[in-house]
C-alpha cells in the first residue's frame, strides 16, 4: 500500500469527557483504501515542545466525505495540543500506516477494548460486519462516565460494557464478561492496556480462539525507518509500525 503525506482539515471536534475526544479530519481528495487496525502519524504544529509526530489509531473512515475519525486520549503535551486545534486548522498526516486485523468471513468475532484501546475497534466492527461476520464488542471502562460513543457500534453488531464500579453493564473487567463464558467465538480482536490484552490472549488460548492484538509502542517515524518501536517476537525484533501494529498473539513472546 502506498503511503501518503497529506494536509487534512480539522472539520469536527467532539469532547467525549475530560480525558477523551474525537477528531474528524478531512482530506482534499479521495481517501486511499484504509484497513482496520491501521494508524495515522499526525504532526502537532501548535505546540513547539512537541517534536515528533503522534501515532493515532483510525477510529472510523467515511469514504463518501473523505473523512477519517480519530479517537484520542489526552496523555501528554501532544494529545493535549491536538485537542486544542480550531475547526478549519490544517493537520499534516502520514498514512495509512501499519498492517491490519484479519477480516474472516462468516465467523463469530469478539472485539475487546479497554480505555483508549477502543480506538480501532469501531472501524474493525464495521469491516467485520460488512464481511458477513457476527460481531460482539465488549468495551471495558472505569465507570458509566467513561462509557461514551456506544451508539456508533450498534449498526454493526452487539455492544456490551463492563465497568469497574458496576455503574453500567457488568461489573469487572471486559475479560470477565459473562458472554465469554456463555458463548463460543472463532476470533478475538483486542486493543488496550497490556494486562488486559494478555488476559484476552489467555482466554483465547484456553478456548481455542484465534487472537489478534494491536500494540502501541512509542515510535519516531511510523514507516519502518527508525527501528525504535520494536517488539520482541518469536522471530526476533519486529517493527510495530510496519510488521504490526496487529500481531497474532502466537507470534509474540507472551
Amino acid at each position: 500500500m502506498k503511503k501518503l503525506i497529506q494536509d487534512f482539515e480539522l472539520v469536527k471536534y467532539e469532547e467525549l469527557n475530560c480525558e477523551h475526544y474525537v477528531l474528524d479530519i478531512k482530506a482534499n481528495e479521495p481517501l486511499p483504501e484504509i484497513l482496520p487496525g491501521q494508524f495515522v502519524n499526525v504532526r502537532v504544529d501548535n505546540n513547539n515542545s512537541v517534536f515528533l509526530r503522534r501515532p493515532l489509531s483510525i477510529h472510523n473512515v467515511d469514504y463518501d466525505r473523505n473523512v477519517i475519525q480519530l479517537f484520542v486520549k489526552r496523555i501528554g503535551e501532544g494529545t493535549k495540543s491536538l485537542g486544542e486545534l480550531s475547526i478549519g486548522a490544517t493537520v499534516s498526516v502520514v498514512y495509512p500506516l501499519g498492517n491490519s486485523y484479519s477480516i474472516p468471513k462468516n465467523s463469530k468475532a469478539v472485539l475487546i477494548g479497554g480505555g483508549c484501546g477502543v480506538a480501532p475497534l469501531l472501524y474493525l466492527s464495521k469491516c467485520l460486519h460488512e464481511a458477513g461476520n457476527e460481531v460482539t464488542t465488549i468495551l471495558g471502562v472505569r465507570s458509566s462516565y467513561d462509557a461514551v460513543g456506544l451508539e456508533a457500534y450498534k449498526p454493526y453488531g452487539r455492544i456490551l460494557v463492563t465497568t469497574e464500579d458496576g455503574s453500567e453493564g457488568e461489573k469487572g473487567y471486559p475479560t470477565q464478561h459473562s458472554v465469554l463464558e456463555n458463548e463460543n467465538f472463532d476470533y478475538s480482536f483486542t486493543c488496550g492496556p497490556e494486562p488486559m490484552m494478555k488476559a484476552v490472549a489467555a482466554y483465547s488460548d484456553a478456548n481455542d480462539v484465534t487472537c489478534e492484538v494491536s500494540l502501541e509502542n512509542t515510535m519516531a517515524c511510523g514507516f519502518g525507518a527508525c527501528l525504535c518501536c520494536v517488539t520482541d517476537t518469536k522471530e526476533g525484533n519486529k517493527c510495530v509500525c510496519t510488521e504490526g501494529p496487529v500481531f497474532n498473539v502466537k507470534d509474540l513472546k507472551w
Binding site: I5, V50, R53, G224, L227, C228, V230, G236
Partner: protein, 304 residues
C-alpha cells in the same frame, strides 16, 4: 541555473544533500514520499559483519527539540545486505553508500571487503561513533590510536570512497579528524549522536532500556555546527556536516561553516519529504543571494 554539484574527492554528488544512516532505512522506506534520484546520496542503515538484534524496547525517548535513541545497530548482517538488499537498491539514481559498523577491527575489515565488491556502491561511511553498542563502536572514535587502527586496516581493503563518521563525545574532535585523515580517509562526516539520557520522574525509571542513548535533532545543531567549523579548518579532506538539520537554512549554515555536503537525519522522521525540500531551498537561497556555484559557499562564513 545554479550549480549544485559538489565533489567528495572523486565522488561526485549532484547536490550536497545526503540522508543520514539510521534515519533513512535502505531508501525504500521513503520511495512512496520522494524521488530518491533528486538526492546527492543516501547512507543506508548501519551494517555489521553479523546479524544483530539491537537493544530491547524501549529504544526511543522524545526530548526538548530532539530525541534519544538506543537502537543498537539492529541489522541482518553484511551477507544479507549483499544478497537480499543490494539487488533491490543498486539501481537507485543516486550515490548509495553503506554505513559500516562493528565492535572489532576484523569485523569492519571483513564487512568493508565484501562491500568493496558491489559495483553500484561508490563508497562506505565507516562508523567509529555509535554510542549504543556495548562492546565498542564509539570506542574506536574516542581515541586517536584506535581510530587510526580501524581506518588503517579498512583502508587496506577498501578501494572506493572511504568516509569516516566521527563521534562528538570527545574532548577534541579535530585530533580524531586529523588522525583518520592521516590513515587515508577520503572524507569525514560529523556528528554522530551525543550521549544523553532521560528519566521519568514519576516512575523513577530511565526512558531507555539501555539507560543512556544518542541525542539527535535540533537540540544538537549548535554543537554540530561548531565541530564542523573546527574540523573543516583542521583537515584537508572534505567534511560532511550533520546534526539537527531541519531545513535549507540549517543546511546552508553547515556549508558556510565548511561542510562540502550535508546529511539530513532525524528530520526525515517528521517530514519524509524534507530532504528534497532542502535541495529546493538551497537553490532558492543561491538565487536570492546571486550565488551561481554552491562550491563558492563552502566555508564562506564571514568572520569580519
Amino acid at each position: 541555473m545554479v550549480n549544485l554539484e559538489v565533489k567528495l574527492k572523486d565522488l561526485v554528488l549532484k547536490n550536497p544533500v545526503m540522508t543520514a544512516s539510521g534515519t533513512f532505512g535502505f531508501g525504500e522506506e521513503f520511495a512512496d514520499f520522494i524521488d530518491l534520484s533528486q538526492l546527492g546520496g543516501i547512507l543506508v542503515k548501519g551494517t555489521t559483519r553479523y546479524h544483530r538484534e539491537g537493544n530491547p524496547y524501549p529504544r526511543m525517548a522524545e526530548t526538548p527539540s530532539g530525541m534519544l535513541n538506543a537502537v543498537g545497530l539492529q541489522n541482518k548482517g553484511v551477507e544479507n545486505f549483499c544478497n537480499d538488499i543490494y539487488p533491490r537498491i543498486k539501481d537507485y539514481k543516486t550515490n548509495v553508500m553503506v554505513n559500516v559498523s562493528g565492535s572489532l577491527v576484523e569485523d569492519c575489515v571483513e564487512t568493508a571487503t565484501m562491500i568493496n565488491e558491489l559495483d553500484h556502491i561508490p563508497g562506505i561511511e565507516l562508523n567509529i561513533s555509535c554510542p549504543n553498542v556495548k562492546e565498542g563502536g564509539m570506542a574506536f572514535g574516542t581515541s586517536c590510536a584506535s581510530a587510526e587502527e580501524v581506518v588503517r586496516e579498512v583502508r587496506k581493503v577498501y578501494k572506493k570512497h572511504l568516509m569516516v563518521k566521527l563521534s562528538p563525545n570527545v574532548t577534541d574532535i579535530t585530533s580524531i579528524a586529523k588522525a583518520v585523515e592521516g590513515q587515508g580517509a577520503d572524507s569525514v562526516s560529523l556528528i554522530n549522536t551525543l550521549l544523553g539520557m532521560a528519566i521519568d520522574a514519576e516512575t523513577r525509571k530511565p526512558l531507555l532500556s539501555t539507560v543512556t542513548g544518542g541525542l539527535s535533532g535540533p537540540a544538537v545543531k549548535p554543537v554540530a555546527l561548531r565541530m564542523v567549523w573546527q574540523v573543516a579548518q583542521a583537515v584537508n579532506i572534505p567534511v560532511v556536516g550533520l546534526g539537527g538539520i531541519m531545513n535549507a537554512k540549517d543546511a546552508i549554515e553547515f556549508i558556510l561553516a565548511g561542510a562540502t555536503a550535508i546529511q539530513i537525519g532525524t528530520a526525515n522522521f517528521i517530514d519524509p519529504q524534507v530532504s528534497v525540500k532542502v535541495v529546493e531551498g538551497i537553490k532558492e537561497y543561491m538565487i536570492r543571494h546571486q550565488v551561481s556555484d554552491i562550491n563558492d559557499l563552502i566555508g564562506a562564513i564571514n568572520l569580519k
